[in-house]
Structures are given as C-alpha cells and as structure tokens.
C-alpha cells in the first residue's frame, strides 16, 4: 500500500493479486481500518466496505487481479477498480441480480451468486463501468460522506 496525503484528499493505492482467493479482501479491509481511524461515519464505512469488497472479489475471480485507487475527500470516497481482465461483454446483463458466469468452484467458495455488481450499485451513490473486451474493466464507485 502507498499513502499519498495532499490536498484535495487522501489517496490510497493497492495491488490485487490474481488467483489468490485467501487474500481477496485485504485492500477493502485496509480501507475500512483507515476510514475508521479517520472518524468517518459507520454508515458510510459499511457502504464502502461492502461495495469495495465485492469489487475486489470480482477482480480476483473474473479478471486476474488488478489495482485499486481510493480517494478520500471531505465530500466523498471514490474507489477506482482497474483490471486487465477479459472485459464484460454485456454490462446490462452482468448488472442483473443472479446473472453470473462464475464456475461452480467459485460458488463453493461462497461467491458467484450474481449479486456482486447489484450489491455494488445498491451500496454506492455513483457507479460507472468502463469495459473493453480483451482489454479490461474499470469500475468507478463513489459514496457521499454527508
């Protein structure tokens, strides 16, 4: 992790390793602890934690890992999850609750129910997916602080 503190906010950067299901969630866990130390409200922390954790899991199970940049300003917490994975062919379909291409092995690990992207949408105030097939996906999410 790499912390840059400057105006206009705190910037946190993480690398998410591929195929390491045991470590998936480490970045989200670190962000949660930092937000707690900063005295951010529990409601905001909960939303950020859930959305980022689901996004981090997706990077591990669908996209060979990637990197995450979190920017904390007085107004909002922005998370940018970037990967060089296969991309998402049909974003609208992927956003539907229950839609999943995850193999059975991922389901047996407690994920792959097709609820990740809908959860991320529900727990954030803004969410945008930029994806190019064969190039990668960038998911940008924001949770407002006030």
């Amino acid at each position: 992790m790499d912390v840059q503190s400057s105006t206009p906010g705190v910037v946190l950067k993480y690398v998410v390793s591929p195929n390491d299901f045991t470590r998936a969630g480490e970045a989200s866990s670190n962000v949660k602890n930092i937000l707690k130390q900063m005295g951010i409200s529990p409601d905001v922390i909960r939303k950020v934690s859930i959305a980022m954790y689901e996004g981090e899991i997706n990077m591990v199970i669908h996209a060979n890992g990637g990197d995450i940049t979190v920017t904390i300003t007085p107004e909002k917490i922005e998370m940018v999850l970037r990967d060089d994975g296969p991309g998402i062919p049909d974003v609208e379909k992927a956003m539907q609750a229950g839609y999943s291409t995850a193999p059975e092995q991922v389901r047996s690990l407690g994920f792959g129910a097709g609820m990740g992207l809908p959860n991320m949408k529900n727990y954030t105030d803004e969410m945008k997916i930029d994806t190019v097939l064969g190039v990668g996906t960038t998911v940008t999410m924001s949770v407002y602080i006030s």
Partner: protein, 115 residues
C-alpha cells in the same frame, strides 16, 4: 443473550475469541453464500454458516459481525483462526445442521428479520 448462551445452546466449541464470550447478541443471519450476507444483512451480529474459508471472516469484518457459528461439524482452519483473532471475532463450531442451529437460537429469542 450473549455469545456464551449461544455456545451452550448449540453445544459449540470455541476456536477463536474466547475472551469475547460476554458480547451481547440480538439478531442473526444464516447463509452459505457470502454475497447474500453482504446484500441482505442489516446489522445482525451473528453469522451462522456452513461455508468454511477465510472469506467468511472477511465478510464478518466488513459487516462488523462479532460472532461466526460454523455448523454441520465444520472446523475453522489455521488461517481463519489467525484472521478471526486479529479482528476480535468469535468462531463457534457446532454439529447441528443449519435448520436446527437456527431453530434453537430463534426459540431462545434471537431475531433475524425480513428484507
């Protein structure tokens, strides 16, 4: 009720967080799918699950769940215990199946909720 009451009702063993057995508990969530827990839990402090991997501890951490009940005789591995201890999370292990574990705790007054 406290974590200790849950432990005795489910004849459970404690594999992490034995110093937190006095924690007050008011509601619980039960599922084997962590995305479901992340989607629908609303501040419940116990997670009853048959899933047994480190992501159970992570899910509890993200949701501030203080006690995990592993059912059907599942046993936490070293990694899970290490993570749970670091996060002050209690892990209980019981041989009851999901249905029975939930029924016993519901009878004792533990609430769940409706989405």
């Amino acid at each position: 009720m406290t974590v200790k009451d849950i432990q005795s009702a489910l004849k459970a063993t404690v594999s992490s967080g034995s110093e937190y057995l006095d924690t007050e508990i008011t509601s619980a969530f039960a599922s084997d799918m962590m995305s479901e827990v992340l989607a629908f839990s609303r501040g419940q402090s116990v997670l009853i699950t048959g899933l047994c991997n480190p992501q159970v501890i992570r899910t509890a951490e993200m949701l501030d769940i203080s006690c995990i009940v592993l059912i059907r005789g599942k046993e936490a591995n070293e990694e899970m215990i290490r993570m749970a201890e670091a996060r002050n999370v209690v892990i209980l292990q019981t041989r009851y199946i999901m249905f029975s574990a939930c029924g016993i705790l519901y009878n004792l007054g533990l609430d769940g909720g409706i989405i």
